[in-house]
Amino acid sequence: MIIDHPLLGPRDISEFIYLGDASLLNRPKWDAEDAEHSFYEYLYLRKNIAGVHKELWFHQQGDRSWLVISRNTLTHEITKVDLVGNHSKNMEILND
């Protein structure tokens, strides 16, 4: 796979590290009533989508930026690549 990095252009996947579902950006509030349960869900449960999946990749062998990538898990087709900073401001568009 080739990832079209928003700043660096097309880069080979071997330069990147995969973290997982981009909903990991939605960290639960630590002082909420149901924090224990929310952190269990946050840490362990996944939607594991078959289709377009928003996910976090780290450009470890490059500029060390974090990316949110929309990729189809059935075909491996990447439709959108974005810097994570552009995402954290409007989290409702993530998988959860």
């Binding site: 796979m1 080979d12 996947i13 071997s14 995969y18 973290l19 997982g20 579902d21 269990y40 869900e41 840490l43 362990y44 449960l45 996944r46 939607k47 594991n48 989508i49 078959a50 999946h53 996910e55 990729r71 898990t73 059935l74 075909t75 491996h76």
Partner: protein, 416 residues
Amino acid sequence: MRYNWLKLLKEGFNNNSGWEKTWKNPELKKEYDIIIIGGGGHGLATAFYLAKEFNIKNIAVLEKKWIGGGNVGRNTTIIRSNYLLNENEAFYEFSLKLWESLEKQINYNAMVSQRGVLNVYHSDSQRDSFTRRGNSMIINGADAELYDVNKIKLLYPFLDFDNARFPIKGGLFQKRGGTVRHDAVAWGYAHAADQLGVDIIQNCEVENFKFKFGACIGVETNKGFIKANKVGCAVAGSTSLLMSKANMNLPIESHVLQAFVSESLKPIIPGVITFGAGHFYISQSDKGGLVFGGDIDGYNSYAQRGGMETLEDVCEGGLALMPIISKTRLLRMWGGVMDMSMDGSPIIDKTHINGLYMNAGWCYGGFKATPASGWCFAHLLAKGYSHALSKNYRLDRFKNGYMIDEKGQGAQPNLH
């Protein structure tokens, strides 16, 4: 039909015209005691042990495609029981013991070959951790031997012992480990289960569960509704998709694992070897092809194929271990979808819904577990409570903090 010498002799004179199908294609009934979703190794083994050991006869195995087309036919055929943690080691040792008597049990030649599994180590600290693992194996009734370099040289003189970066210092050897013809495992279990009256239904995809008063009472399929007292799911990489129909979110990610086969060579590798400094394992099939693999590709995937970067990584590991294979040409490669759990260990448990059971989270170690997985899942389905060996494979262990994390990687499925 039972395979035996007399039948073989008769068919030899009969131009092989009287062989029946390995399993029947029966008519789907309206109702079963137990429905197993997924006609892979685990599902078929479950049905077989339900019929044989737990005396339940009215069973159906529903397979969405064909028998032997999923992960049971997409692995590197290795069997072993060399785990560290007690929760795993006892279970996998039970599995290895079942492999040893499998062919008699199912009356089918699965080519079980206990040719020995060798894990090489490259440093003092790795030796210490392998020694610890070996002791854990012995404590749990398995066999393990620590080999020094000279012993390995007798077995595999062609390894790169004096590699400057990863010199081979020794290895952990399990003599009873080995390989099994994976397709024959699927066909053999299907044959044996069919002999005991299990209905094996191919091209039957489950589209939904049916619930009544909070209990699962059957499944909706492309061939209509089928009623069942109990439904067991053993669908590996598709587990999240199937269980989402029961509104369950699982501690599982689906990842693709690739396997590779070279052109046929003269016999060179008598057993199974794994590299200690990278992820690479290899054996040689009876046809002569080198069968090898490595890590999962590392990203969520439902495609049964992977990328070239993993192939490159696997081959680099292979060449670092045994430069002798550098001129070998690759013949085939394929991928399977793994149900990677959050702690790297499987789940064999009831769900919160009455009558609905699941068997999943095998990561990329599901093949060797096939007999024990089937046995323990059958036990759970038949008796309603877990077998002693799978009682730790609970679905709620993530919530309660009883993870079984063999590699100590934490909740990161692509690292297990």
